[in-house]
Symmetry: C2
């Protein structure tokens, strides 16, 4: 496969992205190619200074850069020679099989929807995150940021997306899908959750177990997929990271807590679009970039988006 990586996106780009790509080379088969999208001169200079062989990469030169603080729609419309516009064009034309970036998240969303587009039958794509459980597995949290005003029918569909993600990536058979809420009883929460519950409890396409509280994220086999609106999901993810970082700085870390380090995973897949798109953390280190590249391969090969398309077509 051809794994596209936006070299210019991220707080520590292009240095961290190129170094991460060099690290990833060691962990993928020779039949896979990493496609570096960005300023060719910088890429070649960096590869040279690292004694890395440029022939092991495909390089696609881009002139412009979409910055972290660019307005997404404006940037994706006007910066036509930029890393992300070119990247999504490659993805649409299937010259790359996946596109990963630690750059401007909003521009990534706009780019994905305007190029490969949302899967037919899905109302909104969503971002999936995962949090480590104490028993060694992971909880899937969805949506964590695409859609801050998710409607109940969006939440209902996220149940299916999350189920497929848990099945395809974490190999959990018939995963339990819960609606993240402030209490476990039916009728709890805000109007959005109450309405979503009514839709989700009729779902045949996934195993809905009702409302679940946040503590279940960390432990047990009671719930695998946690559905929430993108505002709450993003807030919880940031809060988890903030609290983890406080502990980390204070040396309060053990083997379990180490598994919260986002660098080990790399990024979050944008699910529900007609292509494999991975969105990384702005502060991505080279380790995070390496893992984002490996994650691109895993998500592409899982065929989750194809499976989602099939499932939606059958409803």
């Amino acid at each position: 496969m051809n794994i596209g990586i936006d070299v210019m996106g991220g707080d520590f780009a292009p240095q961290a992205t190129i170094l991460g790509a060099i690290m990833a080379l060691e962990e993928i088969p020779a039949t896979d190619r990493i496609v570096l999208i960005g300023n060719e001169k910088i890429i070649l200079e960096t590869l040279k200074s690292e004694n890395a062989d440029p022939s092991r990469f495909n390089i696609v030169h881009t002139e412009e850069v979409i910055e972290m603080d660019d307005k997404p729609i404006k940037a994706m419309t006007q910066k036509t020679k930029s890393n992300l516009v070119v990247g999504f064009s490659l993805l649409k034309d299937k010259k790359i099989d996946s596109l990963a970036s630690a750059g401007n998240t909003g521009a990534m969303l706009v780019g994905a929807m305007n190029s490969v587009g949302t899967i037919e039958g899905l109302l909104r794509p969503c971002l999936a995150a995962f949090l480590p459980k104490e028993d060694g597995g992971f909880s899937v949290l969805v949506d964590v940021g695409v859609n801050p005003d998710s409607k109940p029918e969006h939440l209902h569909q996220y149940g299916l997306v999350g189920k497929l993600y848990a099945e395809k990536i974490f190999k959990i058979a018939n995963p339990k899908v819960g609606l993240l809420n402030v209490g476990s009883e039916e009728g709890k929460g805000n109007a959005r959750c109450v309405a979503a519950y009514d839709l989700m409890k009729t779902a045949l396409e996934y195993n809905f177990i009702g409302n679940v509280e946040t503590r279940k994220l960390f432990k047990g086999d009671d719930c695998h997929v946690f559905v929430c609106d993108g505002f709450v999901g993003n807030m919880l993810l940031k809060h988890t990271e903030a609290m983890w970082y406080v502990m980390y700085k204070r040396g309060l870390v053990d083997d379990y807590m180490k598994r919260f380090n986002y660098e080990l995973y790399g990024g979050m897949p944008l699910l529900g679009v007609n292509g494999t798109v991975i969105i990384g953390h702005g502060i991505s280190s080279k380790l995070a970039i390496k893992n984002m590249i490996l994650q691109s391969k895993q998500v592409f090969e899982s065929k989750i988006n194809e499976q989602l398309k099939d499932s939606l077509a059958k409803l």
Copy 2:
């Protein structure tokens, strides 16, 4: 003052509540009386078995109990001889100056609104929580549970409530009030936040500093009051507690992390009603109950609700 405590409310009541009241006696002046509201026989038996002098308390006998899983409105309407109905009647008649309970939160809210009522000019009361900052202070988080569907105009008013709480309880001069959001730029977040921002930025009655992210809860002097809707606030509070508890169980605790233990504070004040009402954690231990009683005194003496009434009247 007369400090009312619902003896029957909480997972470990009445044992933990009575023991907590006995502990609190040692820390309040003799001119204050703790009013135990609940089954007199159980209260007297427990005091006796603890070698505590019953004459040091006022006891108000109640026949019925509002259970944790009772439907709030139904229970408060039908169980007219219950701990909470009697308690709020005492509060309304000023026979007690404060009412604290670790029991049914919904019933507490219904009881407060139906008895002493909401302060004139305030659209909705709210629950305030506080989280320890690394520098030794506290962040005020409001609302954390009254109003899961807060409207922008509610959030706007919570800014004032939170500001007064930070001033009166934590003695912070001109506290900085932020809107808790998924990013710090104007225009971030869901529709509710975008609209609330527009209202809050015109506020003269508090010092609005814009959108703030969750990591600021833990550190620095950048923001003192974090405004959010009751659903998000309750979720964040539960998530913080869940994550803290995971760490605690794993022995990852230092002096700062110890300050997250809710038992040290006792409960959360319901702000914006015409009386001092403290809502405790269902799992309150005797230590938590003791501190909830001390907190009742602190909140009552701070006159925060009177101050809020004055501030609203001036707008």
